[in-house]
C-alpha cells in the first residue's frame, strides 16, 4: 500500500506491506534508528514517538495507520545542534545509563509537559507508567523532567 506522511517535518511517501509495523518502517525504511524496540507487548515504551502531537507506541501501530499523519521521533527534537531542554536535563541529571529506553522516555516526558505543564513528582512517575527503564531506578529521570519544566517556568 502507498502511504504519505510527514516525519520530523519532512514529507515521506512509501509503498509498504499492510502488516509492516510503524516502528519497523521508521527504523528500517527511514533508518531513524533512535526509536527502539524493547518488547513485543507494548509495555516498555522504548518505541514511543509522537503522532500528530500525541505520544504513541510505534510498535502497536501499522505503518499504514500513520498515513496522512505527522510523526516526530527522537531525531526530530534537537535543533541546530542544540539539545532540546529535556535532553539537556537528562544529561545534567544523569538520567540515562545504557541509553536504550532514553528516546522513549524523552518522548513520553515531552508529551507530559505539553499536557501538564506543572507536574509534581507523583504525576511524573504516573505518566511514565508505560515506559520501562532497567538501569536508572527512575529517580534521575524524574529529577530531569522536573528540572526541564522548572526551567520552562512550570513544575510545582
Amino acid at each position: 500500500m502507498k502511504i504519505a506522511l510527514r516525519v520530523n517535518s519532512q514529507d515521506v511517501e512509501a509503498e509498504v506491506e499492510p502488516r509492516l509495523l510503524l516502528v519497523h518502517f521508521l527504523r528500517e525504511r527511514l533508518r531513524l534508528t533512535g526509536t527502539h524496540i524493547g518488547c513485543d507487548t507494548s509495555q516498555c515504551g522504548a518505541c514511543t514517538v509522537h503522532l500528530d502531537g500525541r505520544a504513541v507506541k510505534s510498535c502497536s501501530l501499522l505503518a499504514v495507520q500513520a498515513d496522512g499523519c505527522a510523526i516526530t521521533t527522537i531525531e526530530g527534537l534537537a535543533a541546530d545542534g542544540v539539545l532540546h531542554p529535556l535532553q539537556a536535563a537528562f544529561h545534567e541529571h544523569h538520567a540515562l545509563q545504557c541509553g536504550f529506553c532514553t528516546p522513549g522516555m524523552v518522548m513520553a516526558a515531552h508529551e507530559l509537559l505539553g499536557r501538564t505543564p506543572m507536574p509534581d513528582e507523583a504525576q511524573i512517575r504516573a505518566a511514565l507508567e508505560g515506559n520501562r527503564c532497567r538501569c536508572t531506578g527512575y529517580q534521575n529521570i524524574v529529577d530531569a523532567i522536573r528540572a526541564a519544566c522548572e526551567r520552562a517556568g512550570g513544575c510545582t
Binding site: 527502539h36 507487548t41 536504550f100 529521570i141
Partner: protein, 781 residues
C-alpha cells in the same frame, strides 16, 4: 614532580561524555546496523518443557518465498560443535548442550529449528510453517522434586538430575551441637529474569575474500566471545573480530556464548552472507539466562549473649536444564560469602546443584553474592526475633570490627579491608533509628503496620584469576593502553566493555587526572577486539576496580615518559617540573615551559633527541589484576508500611550507605546504586519467573513479569563512604551490584518487621500484595 588536578579529574561530578549521542537517537545498537544482503535468523522454539522430538517437516517452510535455509539440530550438529558448559571440572556432570536441540527438548523455549530468510517477517512466517512431532515427557521444574528417586530424568547419560554436590566451609556439627540455641529457617531466593531493555542480538558478517568474520554482538565481553566463537566455529581467531556496539544493558546475562549468536556466526560462514538475529522480549524471557533460583535450609547456632557461633546451609541450586558458561559458580560464591559481615567461626554450605526443565541460570547483577547477603541477613533477623533482641543490636554484636582486617572466613574468603560499622552508623543516624522505632510502636497502637528493615551487607568484586582453570575460563586481569596524540590529546583503549556504567567518562577522568588534561580531551575506545588485542570485559563490578586500575597504571607510566622527555627537552631535572594546564613548567621559573602537545609531537617526530631507552611515541600499556577480591560493603535501611486490608507494601524511606572506596565520579556511582536498588526492590516485591508444574512459564512477557516502573519505586536516599581498598591502586570498591545485594534483605526484613505483631515469621519473595494479604489472613485465623 608536582601535579595539579585538572577540572573533571578523579572525584568530579562530571556529566557523562557518553550521553549526547544516546539522547538524540544517535546510539548504535546491534539492531540499528544493516549490511547489504543480510539475512534474518529466526528460531523455532519448543512449546514443551520436556519432550522427545519426532519428525520435523520443514518442506512447507523451505518452499516459502525469501527463505534461504532451514536447519534442525541434527543437521547443525554435522558442522557445529556443542556449546560450552561447566564440563571438564572434576565431579561435575556436564550434559551436552547443542545450539539446537537434538532428539529431545528440555525446557520451553529451547531452540528446535533455525530459519534464514530475507526479512524478519518472512523468517517468522517460515518458523510457523515448520511442523514438529513432539512426544511429551513428564517434566520437573521444582529442584527438590527433581532430586526425588522417581523424578523424570533430564539427561539420561548423567544418571539423575544431581548436577554436582560440594561442601564449602569448616566443621559445623560440633559447634551447632554446642550452641545454646539453634535457629532454623528456610529461605528461597526466587528465579528471576535479567530483562535488559535491549534484548540480545547479533549481526555476523563473513567476508570470504578477506577470510574475515566480523560479529557485532550485544555482549559485555567481546574478547571472551571472540575466543569462544573461534573455538566453536574452528575459525582462526586472528581473522575474527567481535564488536560490542552500544549495548542496552547486560547485568551479567550477556556473558554467555549463547546458541543464537553462535548460529548467526555459523550460518554467515556457511552461507557466505551477513546474518542478523534479534531476540524478541518473549524469547528473552525463555532463552536468555535466568538467575538466582537458590533455596537454603539454615541452621544458626547462637550463644546466650547473641553471638553466632555456627552457621550451616543446605543449599539447593537450580541450574536449569543445562549449564550456561558459569552457572555452577553461583552457589559456590554464595557459600564463600555465607557469613556476610559477621564473625562466625564455624560455617559451611552443602551445595546440591540440580537440573530441572527450566531455562538455564547464569549470572545476574549480584550473582551468588546477592543470594548470600539475602540468606544471612534474613537469618540475622530471624535469630534476633527468636532471641527477643533488636536486629540492630544483634548485628552490632556480630559485625566484624574495623581492626580485624584482613579477615579470613571459614569458607575460604578473605575480606581484604573494610569498615562495616561506618556505613551502619551513618545509615542509622540518617534515619534516626530510635525515633523510627518509637513511631512504629505508636502507630501499632492505632492499627498501622510500619516495619524497619536492615541489611549490613558485604559482597566482593573484581575476581582474581583461577590458575589452571578448565572449561569456560574468565581471567582476572584487565588491560588498558593510554597514548598521547601529537596534538596533546589522549586516547585510552580499554578491555572492559561498558554498557551503561559510565566507564567512558570515568576512564577519561582517570586519564585526565594522571596527565593533567581535561577529560573532554581523552577519547575512550572499547568494545572492539580489533582495537585492543586482548581483554576480558565488564562483569562482577570489575570495570573500575580492575579496568580502571589498569588505566590508572598505564596513564601514570605515560606521564612518567612524558615527564622524562619534557625534562630532557627543557634541560631540567624531572623533579623540578610541574604538570598543569596541558604542559610542564619549571617550578622555579614558570616561564620555562613546554606543552604536552609539544612533548608528544617531539616524540612522534622520530627517535632522535630522545632520552635513552625512550620509544618514538608516547604510549603505555598496563595489565592489572587484584591479588584478591575487593571487599564491598554497605548498610541499607528500609522503612515500609503494610496495608493490612490489601497486603500492599509501601516503601516510605530507603536509605543506602555504601562504601565506594574511592568515587571517581560520585554522580555515576550514585546512579549505579539507584539502578541496583531498583532491581533489588523489584526482586523483593515484584519479580518472579514462575513455572507451572508442567513446566510452562507463566510470566514470559512484560504483561506478566513485573520489572519495576517509576511509580513502583521510592525516592532513594543514597550516601557514599570512602574507605580505601587495599587491593587496587585506586583504592576503589565495586558499586555496581550493591543495590541488588542489599535491597532484597532490607525490604523483606522491613516487611516482616511490620508483620511481626501479626505473627508472620517468614515470607518468600516476591512480597506481592496477594502473598502478604494471605499471610495476614492466615495469621489472624
Amino acid at each position: 614532580m608536582k601535579h595539579a588536578a585538572p577540572e573533571g579529574g578523579i572525584g568530579a561530578r562530571l556529566p557523562r561524555l557518553e550521553d549526547p549521542r544516546l539522547l538524540v537517537g544517535g546510539g548504535c545498537f546491534v539492531d540499528d546496523l544493516q549490511v547489504p544482503g543480510m539475512l534474518h535468523l529466526d528460531i523455532l522454539r519448543s512449546p514443551h518443557a520436556h519432550a522427545r522430538i519426532g519428525a520435523i517437516d520443514a518442506s512447507a517452510a523451505r518452499a516459502l518465498p525469501g527463505v534461504a535455509a532451514v536447519y534442525t539440530g541434527a543437521e547443525l550438529a554435522q558442522f557445529l560443535r556443542a556449546l560450552p558448559s561447566a564440563g571438564g571440572l572434576q565431579g561435575f556432570s556436564a550434559p551436552e548442550h547443542h545450539a539446537l536441540a537434538i532428539e529431545r527438548v528440555r525446557f520451553v523455549g529451547e531452540g528446535v529449528a533455525a530459519v534464514l530468510a530475507s526479512d524478519r517477517y518472512l523468517a517468522r512466517d517460515a518458523c510457523e510453517a515448520i511442523r514438529v512431532d513432539y512426544e511429551p515427557l513428564p517434566a520437573v521444574t521444582d529442584p527438590e522434586a527433581a532430586l526425588a528417586v522417581c523424578a523424570p530424568v533430564l539427561h539420561e547419560a548423567l544418571h539423575g538430575n544431581r548436577a554436582f554436590e560440594l561442601r564449602i566451609g569448616n566443621d559445623t556439627a560440633e559447634a551447632l551441637a554446642g550452641a545454646e540455641r539453634v535457629v532454623r529457617g528456610r529461605f528461597v531466593n526466587q528465579r528471576i529474569v535479567p530483562n535488559t531493555m535491549e534484548t540480545r542480538g547479533a549481526l555476523a558478517h563473513f567476508e570470504p575474500w578477506q577470510e574475515r568474520l566480523t560479529v557485532w554482538l550485544s555482549t559485555q565481553a567481546p574478547h571472551l566471545m571472540r575466543r569462544e566463537l573461534a573455538r566453536l566455529l574452528d575459525f582462526p581467531e586472528h581473522r575474527l573480530r567481535v564488536v560490542a556496539p552500544d549495548v542496552g544493558g547486560a547485568f551479567g546475562a550477556k556473558n554467555n556464548p549463547y546458541a543464537e549468536e553462535l548460529l548467526a556466526a555459523a550460518l554467515s560462514l556457511r552461507h557466505r552472507v551477513p546474518v542478523k538475529w534479534i531476540e524478541e522480549r518473549q524469547e528473552h524471557m525463555l532463552a536468555t539466562s535466568h538467575a538466582r533460583a537458590q533455596t537454603v535450609e539454615v541452621s544458626a547456632g547462637v550463644r546466650a549473649d547473641g553471638t553466632l557461633c555456627a552457621l550451616h546451609y543446605r543449599l539447593v541450586a537450580d541450574m536449569g536444564a543445562y549449564y550456561h558458561a558459569i552457572t555452577h559458580v553461583g552457589p559456590m560464591m554464595t557459600a564463600a560469602l555465607m557469613t556476610g559481615a559477621y564473625r562466625i567461626a564455624h560455617a559451611a554450605t552443602d551445595i546440591v546443584a540440580v537440573f530441572t526443565n527450566t531455562t538455564p541460570t547464569d549470572p545476574y547483577r549480584g550473582f551468588g553474592r546477592a543470594e548470600a547477603a539475602y540468606f544471612v541477613e534474613r537469618t540475622m533477623d530471624l535469630v534476633a526475633r527468636e532471641l527477643g533482641l533488636d536486629p540492630l543490636e544483634l548485628r552490632r554484636r556480630n559485625l566484624i570490627g574495623r581492626g580485624e582486617f584482613p579477615f579470613a572466613t571459614p569458607t575460604g574468603h578473605v575480606h581484604e579491608s573494610g569498615d562495616f560499622g561506618l556505613c551502619l552508623e551513618r545509615a542509622l543516624a540518617r534515619l534516626d533509628y530510635e525515633g523510627a522505632r518509637r513511631e512504629q510502636a505508636r502507630l501499632r497502637t492505632v492499627g498501622r503496620y510500619l516495619g524497619i528493615g536492615l541489611a549490613t551487607h558485604v559482597w566482593r568484586a573484581g575476581f582474581p584469576s583461577v590458575p589452571g582453570g578448565k572449561g569456560y575460563v574468565v581471567s582476572g586481569w584487565e588491560r588498558s593502553t593510554v597514548s598521547l596524540d601529537p596534538s596533546g590529546t589522549a586516547r585510552a583503549v580499554i578491555g572492559t566493555s561498558p554498557h551503561g556504567q559510565g566507564i567512558v567518562t570515568t576512564t577519561a577522568q582517570i586519564v585526565a587526572e594522571a596527565l593533567g588534561i581535561r577529560p573532554q580531551d581523552v577519547r575512550v575506545i572499547h568494545g572492539d577486539t580489533d582495537a585492543l588485542a586482548h581483554g576480558n570485559g565488564t562483569m562482577g563490578s570489575r570495570s573500575l576496580v580492575v579496568g580502571g586500575s589498569a588505566t590508572w597504571l598505564a596513564a601514570r607510566q605515560l606521564r612518567e615518559q612524558a615527564t622524562r622527555l619534557a625534562a630532557h627537552l627543557l634541560r631540567l631535572p624531572a623533579d623540578r617540573l610541574v604538570l598543569r594546564d596541558g604542559g610542564f613548567a619549571d617550578r622555579e621559573d614558570p616561564a620555562k615551559r613546554i606543552t604536552l602537545a609539544a612533548v608528544a609531537a617531539h616524540a612522534q617526530a622520530g627517535p632522535r633527541d630522545l632520552p635513552a631507552g625512550m620509544a618514538s611515541s608516547l604510549e603505555a600499556t598496563a595489565l592489572f589484576e587484584q591479588p584478591n577480591f575487593v571487599t564491598c560493603f554497605g548498610t541499607h535501611v528500609c522503612v515500609v508500611e503494610v496495608e493490612p486490608q490489601t497486603g500492599e507494601v509501601r516503601i516510605l524511606r530507603y536509605i543506602a550507605v555504601d562504601d565506594a572506596g574511592r568515587a571517581v565520579n560520585p554522580t555515576v556511582v550514585e546512579g549505579q546504586l539507584h539502578g541496583g536498588l531498583a532491581q533489588g526492590i523489584g526482586q523483593a516485591l515484584l519479580e518472579e519467573a514462575v513455572y507451572d508444574t508442567a513446566g510452562q512459564p507463566l510470566a514470559a512477557s512484560f504483561l506478566e513479569y513485573a520489572t519495576p516502573r517509576a511509580g513502583d519505586l521510592p525516592r532513594f536516599e543514597v550516601e557514599l563512604t570512602e574507605t580505601p581498598s587495599s587491593v587496587n591502586p585506586l583504592g576503589a570498591r565495586g558499586i555496581g551490584e550493591a543495590g541488588t545485594v542489599g535491597a532484597p534483605p532490607a525490604v523483606v526484613n522491613a516487611v516482616l518487621d511490620a508483620l511481626a505483631p501479626l505473627g508472620v515469621r517468614h515470607l518468600d519473595m516476591p512480597l506481592t500484595p496477594q502473598k502478604v494479604w494471605r499471610a495476614i489472613r492466615e495469621a489472624r485465623a
